[in-house]
């Protein structure tokens, strides 16, 4: 019993749960109290010594107070409160045992895990106090939860923390028992992405309060850590790619540190960077050149600093898949030899990610094929069979008339975009005869017959004879300025400068207005049709695919009129054509449920399969073949997910670090052997986990919300002195109502002694007996 009223007694009094055990009528109590005061007053009417009225009043008051206090105690005052019945209910003690608990940021240089262990299991520790009242069941958790009996089960080695999972596990294990509460020790650094407050509320709804104890510091005082690394998972163009690194820092503001990227043991890139202010995260970019064509695991390391507390987050491994993959196939048909054709071909020629198969009409009835894979490709002209057309991801139509196509081919072109998800670019003249065809539907610009155009917009692209043939400086729209298709540099200022250096274009084909759903990226600076500037480059979605129109045939000037070493023309065309082709549906796509995995994780692989018409295929046999870094091989049949069309799943556990290569092979019901598009290669990496060390500061907010959501309370580890008592008095499903006497409180006895002493001293001072 404490010397003064306990907090729970004060709470009870404040909440009006105070009463007298001998419940006499309040009126009678009042009368008796008054009678006491009157009796004292009567006895003081005559005194042995004469007293001034003031002294007399003082003496009457003190004596009355003594008697009233005794009278109060005789009435036996009590508060009614709730308390668990000793040993009749259970308490779950749940201890965070993940790697972040090994961080030594507790006063005295202790690790978080050591501090918790000491508080719980040292002599006179919390465990003993709790065991007086509860049947204690202790659990450790990281991404999984297990029962432990003492501190020897706590290793601080888990590679992830999931408080939610721990609460659910405890709930399951102790359901059916009289669970009176949960006591959670953690740094709150939860990294499983599931908010545990919901589970806490579920406990609260069943009157099981969750008490949380926070350990560690909210900001680790001295740490430089890699928070995030973003690199292209697959390297698309050229050999150089950027790695974006986010570095957090506490205690080393403004310091210069070295960042290095390793491929195995070899350093492949280094950079000195200056850290931001304390508690900030700054992003840096490192350029990398992959040196071999396969999946490469890079290790990024930031230099260790003096007195740094957490060293584990100074390294980060990531996978970049630089393995050879087939280029995107683009079919380009053009009606006559011209500069635009020549320079589009040249722009793409050295890009290994794109293959341009071209079919050029060089003369009446004469065609010239380039970039073909086999002697048969395009040998009979524009494809007439869906299979032949669908082998391409995008199609470019140059200056070509409608009579080049049959109606069937045009319809197939529509399906190619809408269903196969291919891209269609019309770059050049638009034959009036296309106005009533599907092409008018697919394109982002409306097609207006030239006879309906105003006179100023008729006249063709010949220079010097008509406004539509003149030189002009193309204007990027705001969408165009920031579009991935037309960027010449990542920096806005540099991008604008490079664009301003490009030569003028010449000649514009007038087609009509941009459609409402289209995105205009570039427009003519002067010429307008129906109060809208003539679109020069416009794009739009069409079904599953994309369409695009370029209404000038002079982009080659960006090549011939710029220094030979300038790459703007090449870059723009590669970007535009890659954009056009890259979103085309694939026969087989492979996805993983996570970016990377750690040893012991379960890898869930999903394959989405389409048939030859690019419709989702539920009748395929899908096999996954996986080879691990340790030489292990797994061959599994993937199972169709009945809830999702065309989706097949498989999963397996990974038990070693390194790169896992995977091949998904599809044999459809139609049976197509030897088709490369029915095989899909993919890779993932299993790395040492660092997430426990990034953002590993104590998350007090989360722990507080868990406690408050369930009717419990939050404590700092250093302030857990009253924890055991507090838990026993907190209302729960298994606490019962008890009445606590207040008359025997030492405070009241002390007050009584004080009043009696005062009475005696005052009487002696006035010479009374």
């Amino acid at each position: 019993m404490s010397y003064f009223f306990d907090q729970h007694a004060i709470d009870a009094i404040q909440q009006g749960r105070f009463s007298f055990a001998y419940g006499i009528s309040p009126w009678l109590a009042l009368v008796l109290a008054l009678a006491l005061v009157v009796a004292v007053w009567a006895l003081y009417r005559k005194t042995t010594r004469t007293l001034t009225p003031a002294w007399k009043t003082l003496l009457i008051s003190v004596r009355s107070a003594v008697l009233l206090l005794l009278f109060f105690c005789l009435l036996r005052p009590v508060v009614t409160t709730e308390q668990v019945v000793p040993q009749e209910s259970y308490l779950a003690v749940v201890v965070d045992d993940s790697q972040s608990m090994s961080i030594a940021d507790v006063d005295g240089g202790q690790s978080r895990a050591q501090a918790v262990s000491e508080r719980l299991y040292a002599d006179g520790g919390l465990n003993e106090a709790l065991a007086d009242t509860f049947q204690v069941r202790t659990f450790r958790f990281d991404k999984q939860t297990q029962r432990v009996t003492d501190s020897s089960g706590l290793l601080a080695a888990g590679t992830a923390s999931s408080i939610d999972q721990a609460l659910r596990y405890v709930d399951q294990q102790l359901s059916g028992l009289a669970l009176g509460g949960v006591l959670l020790f953690s740094d709150g650094a939860d990294n499983e992405g599931v908010d545990p407050v919901e589970s806490a509320r579920s406990f609260g709804a069943r009157q099981i309060p969750v008490f949380t104890v926070g350990v560690g510091q909210e900001h680790i005082p001295r740490d430089v850590g890699i928070v995030d690394v973003a690199a292209a998972r697959t390297v698309l163009e050229g050999s150089v790619f950027n790695v974006d690194v986010a570095l957090s820092n506490q205690g080393y503001a403004g310091s210069e540190v070295g960042l290095s990227v390793y491929d195995g043991d070899a350093v492949v890139a280094t950079q000195r960077v200056v850290l931001g202010p304390d508690a900030s995260t700054r992003r840096f970019t490192i350029e990398l050149t992959p040196e071999r064509q396969e999946a490469i695991v890079y290790r990024l390391a930031v230099e260790e600093q003096d007195d740094e507390i957490v060293l584990e987050n100074n390294q980060y491994s990531f996978l970049v898949d630089n393995s050879v993959r087939p280029p995107l196939d683009i079919l380009y048909v053009d009606g006559h030899p011209r500069n635009e054709y020549k320079f589009i071909r040249r722009a793409i020629e050295n890009d290994p990610t794109l293959r341009l198969a071209t079919y050029l009409q060089t003369g009446p009835g004469k065609f010239y094929r380039q970039g073909i894979k086999t002697p048969l490709e395009l040998s009979s002209g524009f494809p007439e069979r869906m299979d032949d057309l669908y082998q391409y991801e995008a199609i470019i139509l140059g200056d070509i008339g409608k009579d080049f196509f049959t109606d069937g081919q045009l319809t197939m072109l529509q399906d190619f975009v809408a269903e196969r998800g291919g891209g269609l670019l019309v770059a050049g003249m638009m034959d009036d005869l296309f106005v009533d065809t599907v092409l008018a539907d697919i394109l982002p610009v409306s097609l207006v017959p030239s006879s309906l155009l105003p006179q100023t917009l008729r006249g063709g692209i010949t220079r010097g004879t008509h406004p539509t043939g003149e030189l002009f400086t193309p204007q990027l729209t705001s969408a165009g300025e920031y579009s991935e298709l037309l960027r010449l540099s990542g920096s806005d200022a540099e991008n604008q400068r490079l664009w301003s250096e490009l030569p003028q274009l010449q000649g514009v084909y007038v087609t009509g207005r941009a459609k409402p759903g289209a995105t205009v990226l570039m427009e003519h600076p002067l010429l307008q049709y129906q109060s809208q500037r003539l679109p020069l480059i416009a794009t739009q979605r069409y079904g599953s695919g994309r369409s695009m129109s370029i209404t000038t045939a002079s982009t080659w000037r960006w090549q011939m009129m710029m220094p030979a070493e300038d790459q703007a023309h090449e870059r723009l065309w590669r970007q535009m054509l890659r954009w056009l082709a890259v979103s085309a549906l694939e026969r087989v796509t492979v996805d993983f449920d996570r970016e990377f995995y750690h040893v012991g994780d379960r890898v869930n692989v999903t394959a989405t399969v389409r048939d030859t018409n690019y419709l989702l295929d539920n009748n395929a046999s899908v096999w996954v073949h996986m080879s691990g870094p340790d030489g292990s091989v797994i061959d599994n049949a993937m199972e169709w997910d009945i809830d999702e069309d065309g989706v097949y799943r498989s999963s397996f556990e990974v038990n070693s670090e390194g790169v896992f290569n995977l091949m998904v092979d599809v044999a459809s019901a139609a049976g197509e052997a030897d088709r490369s598009d029915t095989e899909k290669h993919a890779a993932f990496v299993v790395t040492p986990s660092l997430r426990e060390f990034s953002s590993a500061g104590r998350d007090t907010g989360l722990l507080r919300r868990i406690a408050e959501g369930s009717g419990g309370r939050y404590y700092d580890l250093a302030q857990t002195g009253t924890l055991a008592t507090d838990i026993s008095y907190t209302p729960s499903a298994y606490s019962q109502e008890v009445q606590i006497d207040l008359w025997d409180t030492p405070l009241l006895l002390a007050l009584l002694i004080l009043l009696l002493c005062a009475d005696w001293i005052l009487r002696r001072l006035r010479g009374l007996s």
Binding site: H336, K342, T362, G363, P364, T462, M561
Partner: protein, 298 residues
């Protein structure tokens, strides 16, 4: 002047056209679709008189005007001298009749947007050169072995030519004969590209198959073979074996091609000149159309 020449030659034109039409489609296009060849003197004269104008078409044939050995860029017979042995330039040999005839052929046979007037000439150092991607130059030195005519590329011309080709331009050189001219040509090429090899192409190269399938490089003779005053040349003279030289870019594409022991310009110019053997005109057209198509596709 050109039109007057055509009128003078009108009687021969019909015969020439007939010969041309008889020869080209038969063999050359055997593997391709037969083409109508309907040159006729009437429409030709009409074109020459002004139906076609420069600037109406997407393609313009550009002839390069270079610095002569004699100095300056003047035309032969101009103020810098003239005639054989003089200090005149020969860059404009056969100009513009050769262009006009040939472009008419381009217009008829191919889908290249051209007409009989879509030609022009530019100094090599003229920045407008880069508004085009095809350049023709006549390398004539007269007489053979002369050091007083023919191109003497100056540093600024060399810079411009190199840049033109590196950006993607295609250069066709024509009309130089014999060992002495070949050496001079090699010297000029060494000035242009000291670090690039001059390769001799055989007919397996793509250049010979872009439009017509050409399986033999023919010695297209100069007019001297048939000219009234007999220049001393014989047809298919074994002392002058025809060859096609090329300079390749870093990706193996031909960026400059040169016809040694051939005079394509005369082949085009004398299309309708009766004494000039039509077969050689045809060969001149065929190989040049192939060059043009190659230039537009590589």
């Amino acid at each position: 002047m050109t039109a007057r020449w055509v009128q003078r030659m009108a009687p021969s034109l019909a015969t020439g056209a007939w010969l041309l039409s008889a020869l080209i489609p038969g063999n050359a296009l055997a593997q391709n679709t037969a083409l109508p060849l309907d040159f006729d003197a009437e429409s030709f004269v009409q074109d020459m008189n002004g139906a076609d104008t420069l600037g109406q078409t997407e393609f313009t044939w550009i002839r390069g005007r270079y610095t002569n050995y004699g100095g300056g860029r003047g035309r032969r017979g101009g103020r810098f001298g003239g005639g054989f042995g003089g200090r005149g330039g020969w860059w404009d040999t056969d100009y513009p009749d050769a262009e006009s005839n040939f472009l008419r052929g381009v217009q008829r046979y191919t889908n290249i947007d051209a007409n009989s007037k879509s030609y022009d000439f530019l100094d090599l150092t003229d920045p407008r050169l880069y508004e085009h991607s095809f350049l023709y130059m006549n390398m004539k030195r007269v007489p053979i072995g002369s050091l007083y005519s023919g191109p003497d590329f100056q540093p600024d011309e060399i810079t411009a030519l190199r840049e033109f080709m590196f950006r993607g331009g295609f250069v066709l050189l024509d009309d130089f004969w014999g060992e002495v001219h070949l050496e001079e040509f090699q010297n000029e090429m060494a000035k242009l590209f000291p670090d690039r090899e001059l390769v001799k192409l055989d007919t397996r190269h793509e250049l010979f198959h872009t439009f017509f399938d050409i399986n033999e490089v023919v010695q297209v003779p100069g007019r001297a073979v048939t000219w009234d005053y007999n220049g001393g040349f014989n047809l298919d003279d074994p002392d002058y074996p025809p060859a096609v030289y090329a300079i390749l870019d870093d990706d193996g594409r031909v960026m400059l091609v040169a016809n040694h022991n051939a005079d394509l310009g005369d082949g085009w110019e004398h299309t309708f000149y009766e004494p000039y053997p039509t077969r050689y005109s045809n060969e001149a057209y065929k190989i040049t159309i192939n060059f043009l198509i190659y230039a537009f596709t590589h």
